[in-house]
Symmetry: D2
């Protein structure tokens, strides 16, 4: 079953596994799930904060500072997987998303990522107050699988 904490504000996208994401073990290469996290994260921002494209066009980027993933089972070519994501916490200049990747009732991968808000030249910047307030409403009261900072 998906590994989603109670109270989470979840965005989900479905993804059909392309052949080019498989490797010679005939499963999806483990680095691709890290990319899938990104697909869902952008969907979450679109729905609950602000389209990431708009943030990006103001030259603000949520640069990835931590990645953690635990693999329980593997996706294979042509599987349809669900990538769930929610906000664990948001702070002045950083945020943490967590993920559950599933193939129906089969849980495949859990993970979390942390991000720092930076400008295009890499300097840390506070997340805009409006964005932060909007996100805070959707954060978990207590982080589920990510460390508190």
């Amino acid at each position: 079953m998906p590994n989603i904490p109670e109270g989470a504000t979840v965005a989900m996208i479905e993804h059909r596994v392309p052949f080019f994401e498989t490797d010679a073990m005939r499963i999806v290469h483990h680095a691709n799930y890290i990319r899938w996290f990104e697909l869902a994260r952008i969907e979450w921002l679109d729905r609950y904060d602000e389209p990431y494209k708009d943030i990006y066009e103001r030259d603000i980027h949520y640069a990835t500072t931590h990645v953690h993933a635990e693999y329980a089972a593997s996706a294979r070519f042509d599987d349809v997987v669900q990538i769930h994501t929610w906000l664990e916490w948001v702070r002045g200049a950083s945020l943490c998303m967590a993920y559950s990747i599933d193939r129906g009732d089969d849980h495949l991968v859990s993970g979390w990522t942390e991000h720092a808000a930076v400008t295009g030249d890499g300097r840390v910047r506070r997340i805009g107050k409006e964005n932060r307030e909007r996100m805070k409403k959707h954060a978990l009261a207590t982080p589920s699988i990510a460390p508190q900072r």
Copy 2:
């Protein structure tokens, strides 16, 4: 400086950053460092245990079960980076490698990965005694950045 614990048996490979590993932030996309871990891991096995190609041809695979990465700074197009790796621990059917990715004296990324020995059809299998004994000599006495299991 590279983030390497004392006493580690380290393999290192150099990698020149190709254009196709960059993203629209003009830095290397964070998922690519997870792939770089793999490059170094295979080099380590070649040097200190047994060429992974030989293991693979016996239909044994070190399937990735955990990935953890912390990003301190970014690599850019055409940078030459050093990917260091060492064995944190080895058990009956699993092992844990850790990594320091650096650009000379600039430390970029630290991380660790855990792997389960599996057959091509995904069943867990003990690591061959010879391989395990050989690896054990190179494991750290106490894990440095990875959790003990």
Copy 3:
């Protein structure tokens, strides 16, 4: 406008450009469009011949023998693109698909790929008669952008 010949039996998929497909020119890296061809090709087979997953599970693969792509304009992060594909021709053990990648009315990329039917160990095999007959009905009378063989 999409670059699609009259009489083509077209499958189309939409694709939203993920951040990880961009490069430091802030456009989609040119090798990714070759991957997108594959996404559409598999959709075409599903709709007009037989799900590629079923073919794959019989250990038959349409190994790529030629790739050709012409780039007129670039996709960018978060664009929604349409990948159109159709069958140019099919022969005893090979087939040729062509592609038009578009962002609405903006034509981005045209191309074609040829494939040989092979078994998992790389030996060429005739395409099953049933599959070949089914595909033939959807082939162009005269190839549009690919060379006749």
Copy 4:
């Protein structure tokens, strides 16, 4: 044998095939060879024209406008391949490179790519006269496998 025309000024790089470049056919996915072309192209520019990093830092890019590849045989995990490249022709604002990818005496892939010199915002720009003159000395008298323009 490598498929290199007489008189070509060739740059070559060796590449050891990482696991993550393989696919579920247990061979290198065909789109990766297009990326390998880029690795060799950058090496060629470094050696015979000007480091591409320097060109890139002046905000000039050789955007890819055509890709063509013909696959004769496949590379597999841990193979060491040689990627040869040379200049077919150079014109005012474009250039054409060709490639032979080989595993020792086994020829794997032939191909060519065309590129337009553009600024970061995508406008075509003449290649600097100095660069063009320098490259011209290394161009083939008559293109070998690429079309003349």
